[in-house]
């Protein structure tokens, strides 16, 4: 069974794909049936993923010796493309995470989406997403990965705009699509460059070719390729300049935010970098760039999250910040730390989003946290699970975030101290805004609203994810995550005591601070905001990035549009007008000939006859000259 799951890993993405086709084409109308199909398909692919993972552990497959399956996809002169699957601990870990979170989110959605008109459509999209994300995970080459990369982008677009009746959702979907497209374009160019330079886009072949290439040509071209490739993750994983779509993507339903915009799709960028790490690692400058960008994004996201009021927006900026963390870890050279954090983050962030969804569901789609309060007693299960999630993301031992964050911090400290300091500050801020969220929503004055019932479909995934948030870090630590998922030689898991103490104390300090501000009201939040002045305003307005883009857009697009308009009207239009004018002019000239008088036409006809006669006479004379006389008549 394990061996079957390993050699037929392509079945894992195929299951949700079949579900998508079945639901999309036939069963969209029947909500219960479509949900059953989707959940069943996800469950099957999850079971297969577990078996594949067992097989990988059991059969000694490692990142250095992966299991590879190839099918020739397209062959043309000089071009050779394969569809393949690359199964190593890295992809199996991703398969496990994605299929598990996807399964849990789908179960949650049954409760969350109940009564929605487009219930079937939702499950069709979610299944398509699972299929493409799982396909992305097992891709053996860049091209195949790119295809799935675009597919998940499409699903993201479809699901953000799920409530397409709402203008905001439509706009957000468009924004997400266009913004990630910018990144995807860079990625595409990078892939094409790879094909041109190396003649292959297969990960393993590239890995073998790379050292000799660097030895003979240096790293110049490689840097360019790396930067271009990295633009894709910047867009997809919401890194600094292209992060703007992620907060807006929260217009989609909460399960979508949990699955796509927290746990899986947005980490595709991290996964891509990890997959192509052999390439990035060979150019140190590139790694440093990634590290700084990640650090900046982490700090940047956290600083915005502090001042936001909408529950899902806070989480979205938190996601940006955490993704920055992962990039930072990659940049400082620790693939293990980054993917460990990816692993744990997927659980606790999905948990947080699902909790947020549950809260909003109960509060009748209220999003502003300051309109909530005192929900602790009313929805205790959400309170408990969300607390676990907050503790996990804040890095309180022994929750999951503690182990992964600790590893990132120690990796950063060993390479780059400024980045380490940024990371520590960010960790503090993360704990603070998460505590703020938790305290404001669940403590404080009680609202008298009648809360919606939260069904068991929603509760079970919350509990499961809470358990995973609790144990995934510890489990990863105990079972030596770094032995399986690594770059280069295996490093044993170790724990730096000073860093561990620091990262355990920092969140506690942050919690105390948040408790004093938001629960005991020792210090007024508004007062602090006013004291912070400009900083608060900047943070609240998200550094005015959106406005900046709007201005940029207006300037460039409208400016170019105006130039184009000018060209169109005066140059192209001018040419067209001249041509049409010529036609008109000549037609009026010709029209003058067309007097409508038959006799004129007869006269013209006569002229023609005369000319023909003349020609005939001349020709006849010539002939008779040659044949020396002799008539025809």
């Amino acid at each position: 069974m394990e061996y079957f799951a390993l050699t037929n890993a392509w079945l894992i993405p195929l299951m949700p794909a079949i579900a998508f086709v079945l639901i999309g084409l036939f069963f969209k109308r029947w909500s219960a049936l479509s949900a059953c199909i989707a959940v069943f398909a996800s469950a099957v692919s999850f079971i297969l993923a577990i078996f594949a993972a067992i097989a990988v552990i059991g059969s000694g497959i490692s990142v250095d010796a992966p299991f590879v399956g190839h099918v020739i996809w397209a062959e043309a002169a000089g071009l050779h493309f394969e569809m393949g699957m690359l199964i190593d601990p890295l992809s199996v870990m991703m398969l496990f995470v994605v299929s598990l979170v996807s399964l849990l989110v789908q179960i949650y959605s049954i409760g969350y989406m109940r009564g929605d008109k487009s219930f079937g459509r939702f499950f069709a999209y979610i299944s398509l997403f699972s299929a493409s994300m799982l396909g992305l995970n097992i891709s053996a080459n860049f091209l195949q990965m790119y295809i799935f990369w675009e597919l998940v982008g499409l699903c993201s677009y479809l699901l953000i705009g799920f409530y397409y009746q709402r203008i905001a959702a439509r706009e957000a979907a468009k924004k997400a699509f266009i913004t990630t497209r910018i990144g995807d374009f860079g990625l595409l160019i990078g892939i094409l460059l790879l094909q041109t330079v190396f003649g292959t886009v297969d990960f393993l072949e590239l890995r073998q070719l790379l050292p000799s290439y660097i030895a003979s040509y240096g790293t110049g071209t490689l840097t360019i390729i790396g930067i271009l490739l990295f633009i894709g993750p910047i867009g997809k994983s919401g890194q600094f300049p292209l992060h703007v779509w992620l907060p807006d993507a929260m217009e989609g339903p909460a399960p979508v935010s949990a699955l796509i915009h927290a746990a899986t799709m947005v980490v595709a960028g991290v996964y891509l970098v990890a997959r192509a790490y052999f390439l990035f690692a060979s150019v140190p400058a590139l790694l440093e760039f990634i590290a700084w960008l990640g650090a900046f994004t982490a700090f940047f996201g956290a600083s915005i999250a502090i001042s936001q009021r909408e529950i899902k927006r806070i989480l979205a900026y938190s996601t940006i910040s955490q993704l920055g963390y992962m990039m930072l870890a990659l940049g400082v050279g620790s693939l293990t730390a980054s993917l460990f954090h990816l692993f744990t983050h997927a659980f606790f962030k999905a948990l947080l989003f699902l909790c947020a969804g549950a809260v909003m569901h109960a509060m009748n789609d209220e999003a502003d946290i300051f309109k909530m309060g005192g929900l602790r007693k009313k929805i205790p299960i959400v309170f408990i699970t969300m607390t676990i999630g907050v503790l996990a993301i804040s890095g309180v031992p022994p929750f999951a975030g503690f182990f992964s964050k600790d590893e990132i911090l120690s990796a950063a400290l060993s390479v780059n101290t400024p980045i380490y300091i940024i990371a520590v500050i960010t960790a503090f801020m993360t704990a603070f805004y998460m505590a703020r969220l938790l305290f404001v929503v669940f403590f404080g004055e009680k609202t008298n609203m009648r809360l919606h019932h939260i069904s068991c479909f929603m509760q079970i995934p919350l509990v499961l994810l809470a358990v995973l948030s609790l144990v995934s870090g510890l489990g990863g630590y105990i079972y030596d995550f770094g032995y399986w998922i690594r770059f280069g030689a295996p490093q044993p898991e170790h724990m730096d005591i000073s860093i561990a103490v620091l990262s355990a104390v920092l969140p506690l300090l942050a919690f105390i601070l948040a408790w004093n501000i938001y629960v005991r009201k020792k210090w007024s939040a508004d007062c602090i905001a006013a004291r912070m002045g400009v900083l608060y305003t900047i943070s609240f307005h998200k550094y005015y990035i959106d406005e900046f883009y709007a201005v940029l857009c207006r300037f460039f697009i409208d400016g170019i549009g105006r130039v184009m308009y000018f060209i169109d009207i005066y140059i192209i239009g001018g040419i067209i007008n001249v041509i049409s004018g010529l036609v008109l002019f000549s037609s009026t000239l010709l029209g003058k000939i067309q007097t409508g008088q038959t006799q004129r036409y007869a006269a013209a006809f006569l002229c023609g006859v005369i000319i023909l006669l003349l020609c005939g006479i001349l020709y006849f004379n010539k002939i008779s000259g040659i044949t020396a006389g002799g008539g025809v008549l």
């Binding site: 002229c607 006859v609 006669l613 008539g631």
Partner: protein, 171 residues
Amino acid sequence: MNIDLSSGLFYFLAAVMLFSALGIIYCRNLVHSALFMALCFISVAGLYAMINADFLAAVQIMIYAGTVVILIVLGIMITRRTTMERTSMPEKKYIFRASVLAGILFFLMSYIFITAGTLPTLNTVTLPDDTVSALAELLLDRYMLAFEIAAVLLLAAMIGAVVLAKGADEK
């Protein structure tokens, strides 16, 4: 070529024919034009008679000089209500151009006819004297199909004329 045929008769008939043709054009009164046309057709019939086409001469007089001219005169009479004087006369501005064109054409044709000097001027085959029965045999034997088609054509023309002219006096 009939030796007895006097060239004087030919020139006389040709002169009458051309003169009356010009008369058609230059007559102020349309009825006079029609009468000149009748004269022209009669002289053409004379020419036919000169070259052993007596049946055709009769046909010419009966159909052209008789029927066609009478039809045209009738038509002129029916549409007489508007003044014909203004429209019946040739327009001065066209005369020059038209005469130049027609003259060039005439000279070109004459040139061709005269330079093609090797035309046989004698009929070596003797034609039958009884042209009527010879024509009849030809029409009902070799040209049977064409004859029938001509009949159909005349029928169609008759119907067409009736349809077209129908209502010319109604309204």
